[in-house]
Amino acid sequence: MSTYPVESIRNFSIIAHVDHGKSTLADRLLEITGTIAKTHHNKQVLDKLQVERERGITVKAQSASLFYSHEGANYLLNLIDTPGHVDFSYEVSRSLSACQGVLLVVDANEGIQAQTVANFYLAFEAQLAIIPVINKIDLKNADPERVEKQIEKLFDIPIDECVRISAKQGTNVEKVLQKVIEKIPPPQCNTADPLKALVFDSTFDHYRGVIANIALFGGEIQKGHKVVSAHTKKRYEVNEVGILTPNEQPTHKLYAGQVGYLIAGMKEVTEAQIGDTLFLYKQPVEPLPGFKSAKPMVFAGMYPVDQTEYNNLKSALERLTLNDSSVTVHRDSSLALGAGWRLGFLGLLHMEVFNQRLEQEYNMSVIVTAPTVPYKAVLSSAKLIKDRRAVQKDMLYIDERRVILKYLFPLNEIVVDFYDALKSLSSGYASFDYEDAGYQAADLIKMDILLNGNPVEELATIIHNDKAYATGKFLCERLKDAIPRQLFEIAIQAAIGKKIIARETLKAYRKNVVAKCYGGDITRRMKLLKRQAEGKKLMRKIGNVEVPRDAFIRVLKRQTDK
């Protein structure tokens, strides 16, 4: 590693909108530089997680160090792959701070999209060199000329700086590497300075502990050094440093300007948070700016299907969050579903990926609900905002094309799907942040659900008066579908105090007897009857109404139709 002076190093990232081909380009770059063998099997090599490979998305940022010769000189190129999805923009911004340039990949047919713009701004504000790369030129509908004009107009980058490629076929990819060397400056740092390392990702390995991906902004680091985290103030001894190719390859030392990994006896990924700064013990430095704890945007309640599964789910959650420090976990409980958790995710995709990993890697099936929101009962308003009881506080134009709107929202209104709805409505262009504004008096009431006049404890909710009718009707309809017909009529009602605000009726059976047992074939009928008898044993009785065990789950379950 010492043979690569700072001038020979290029740190760059690939940024793009979802599916424009970042990961495929990364594959090709790895192949060309000989980092991986060139075979047909190289598809999304940097996407190590099963769920990433299945969905074709990158969830965790990975990186790789590439060695490349150009015009007689040897270069060390550090590539950092980034998630394209809007949920992970914080991770993108941290990866970028370790770079001096980016490849901005744009699909030659789709052209500039929401994340292209968002990522461009991130790179621009970080003052990075930006190389536009127009990808998928092999496809029939590709129109690189149009896209180049878009780029020039929106981003002010001259057309001749664009590189047209097909990452899938490898066309012109070598040119990209040359541009990286020519256009992206080497890092401005000095090995003589004290150690200053940015943590831009971390993973958990069962045998070796936390592996932190770092970029050195100054100094050098090797085994035996003692380092301190600027955020937690904790001290660690370095066990191993190395580079990623993309697998871990230990080296003796890492120098300023280089990118690699570090293992230093950290036990949890929360000890190596993205954006944190590491420095040598007794040589503190100014921490790198822009660090913040990941803020959850989407919340969900998660419960085991059966309370006997509680401990299994608990340990699965613990292990899964080992490698995902951006998921927030709080214990919670519900009358209907028992003990569980309230989890916070960076976005809906983040939540879905999490669930999928829970199922695939830990074989757990769970009930996912809208979460409970803490309230204090006391007492006192664009269409999205209006429906959600928000109060506008401020409006500020950043430039001719962007505006910041500040609103005061009840937390209840944003915990479930506000973020997603916002992204949907704005085609991904709007972004959203929030902070706690304390408790505010609101017009809240308790709504009961009744079956033939008997209240169902598990479904009672605290709800805002304005929402009561709609929610009441919704719950009644769902409950009607979840309960089987019986020998008498069932009135399903939503009530506030004594006042009924919504009602559904489940009519009684008038005929329920099988016509014929053909030729003595009684066996089939007996099987069915006995199965129904078994089902009956598991039913709950509310008054005289028999309710299947899974009825409440079906009513409370979060709708996943997105």
């Binding site: 020998l487 005929k511 007897v513 030729g519 009684i522 066996t523 007996m526 129904q532 009956k536």
Partner: protein, 455 residues
């Protein structure tokens, strides 16, 4: 007290119902022990065409080797009767398929085989199911001569459009003709099958159809709600949207209308789907619902009996091989083509007694229950506070000196009552305590008097 259970001739000549509990009913002085009885059900599985709603084990083939099939039916009937050791036959029912497509010669041969293997009393009910297209007077006379004394005509509907919808091969006129011919040859012993709840059928259409049927029928009517079975052409038409599915309310109305109309015309509804005037109940069907023994013969036939001839002691649920050619090969090679046999535990038998018995207006009598559960009466199981009591209070069920049965209203909702009753039965039933060892000496089975070596 009772005696240790054994094989044939080991004391109790009971008819198998109580065995499996390890006990035998004590013979009562002066009363001869009951003789094992059974009801053979020969199946003729062939049809000329498949109706649009049918999913039964039926085969439409261009040519049937009748002689071969006949020989196999005869052979299997003999084999199974011998295995069951049935001594007296209570009834015979030729089903299928379309039994009226078989020749009278085949019918005669099977009846002869039955009469040869057991006692077939002169007045025993012998029913043949007939399709109107193969129920001309001459043919029916042939069946009568062969030994048939009751006819069940499958008319299903007296409306030509409905018959086409059902995929039936006959017209309404042919149906009428067949019933009239049958009544001529089997007066007071003719039954008709009717279907209601056809897709698109209105209340008015059903009322008219019912009236027409009442004007035509003899003294026995079997009334079935059309069920759309998966895989049938009719079900596909409904699920594809070509035909409307009748609503639950409509079906309920049609059923109740029919019940009331038939009762008003002097019929007794003696089972969910069966109505009889002037005492013409079908003995054969009663044996299903009273959990008596019946012996299925032929492809796909079902049976319930004890294989006393093999030393068996428990009632079995049996099915013969479905596919005719395969069935024939098996019969030819080993005398019968039994595909599946499952021994029913005492509790399983009781569950069947309950589920089937409640289908009749008579319900489950104390006596019948006692044959299957001598140690726990109906009162013991269903009399305590619980599901049955609640259903009684709601007016669906009756438990009294006559036994356990549904009320008129309850019968239409039997499948809503049964799961609860089965729960109660399962909860409250327990096998009887082990019987006291016979007082023969201290020696256990295996020797007389020799001291037992401890392991």
């Amino acid at each position: 007290m009772g005696h240790a259970p054994g094989g044939p001739g080991a004391g109790g000549d009971c008819w198998g119902a109580c065995v499996g509990l390890g006990l035998c009913l004590p013979p009562q002085s002066g009363v001869p022990p009951p003789v094992p009885t059974g009801a053979p059900c020969p199946q003729w599985p062939y049809c000329r065409k498949r109706c649009s709603y049918c999913n039964f084990n039926k085969y439409v083939v261009p040519a049937v080797d009748e002689a071969a099939v006949r020989a196999c039916l005869v052979r299997e009937a003999r084999t199974l009767l011998r295995l069951s050791q049935v001594q007296s036959v209570t009834s015979v029912f030729f089903g299928g398929g379309t039994p009226s497509l078989a020749s009278p010669r085949t019918i005669a041969a099977v009846l002869e085989a039955v009469a040869g293997a057991a006692h077939l009393p002169a007045g025993a009910e012998v029913t043949l199911e007939a399709n109107p297209r193969s129920a001309g007077t001459a043919r029916l006379a042939g069946f009568k001569a062969a030994g048939v004394n009751r006819l069940s005509v499958g008319i299903q509907s007296l409306d030509d459009a409905e018959l086409r919808l059902l995929g039936r091969e006959h017209t309404a006129a042919e149906a009428r003709g067949a019933v009239e011919a049958a009544r001529g040859l089997f007066p007071g012993r003719t039954s008709i099958d009717l279907l209601f709840g056809l897709p698109g059928q209105s209340r008015g259409a059903w009322a008219r159809g019912l009236e027409a049927a009442l004007g035509l029928c003899d003294h026995h009517v079997s009334l079935y709600q059309l069920t759309l079975e998966r895989g049938t052409a009719l079900a596909a038409q409904v699920s594809g949207g070509a035909l409307p599915a009748p609503s639950q309310d409509l079906l309920a109305d049609m059923y109740q209308t029919a019940r009331a109309a038939l009762v008003a015309a002097g019929f007794r509804q003696y089972e969910v789907s069966n109505f009889a005037r002037k005492g013409t109940l079908s003995t054969h069907n009663l044996s299903y619902w009273r959990a008596e023994q019946y012996i299925g013969v032929g492809p796909g036939a079902h049976g319930r009996f004890v294989l006393r001839g093999e030393g068996g002691r428990s009632r079995e649920a049996r099915v013969q091989t479905l596919e005719p050619d395969a069935w024939m090969r098996e019969v030819q090679s080993r005398g019968h083509g039994t595909r599946r046999r499952v021994v029913l535990s005492p509790l399983e038998q009781l569950e069947e007694v309950l589920a089937l018995g409640l289908r009749t207006d008579e319900g489950v009598t104390h006596e019948r229950w006692g044959r299957f559960s001598p140690h726990l009466s109906l009162e013991a199981i269903f009399g305590a506070p619980g599901e049955a009591k609640a259903l009684q209070q709601q007016g669906w069920l009756v438990l009294d000196g006559g036994g356990l049965r549904c009320t008129w209203r309850g019968l239409a909702l039997l499948d809503s009552l049964l799961p609860a009753l089965l729960c109660q039965l399962q909860r409250r039933w327990a096998p009887p305590a082990a019987p006291a060892l016979p007082a023969q000496g201290a020696a256990p089975a295996g020797g007389g008097g020799a001291p037992r070596r401890s392991p």
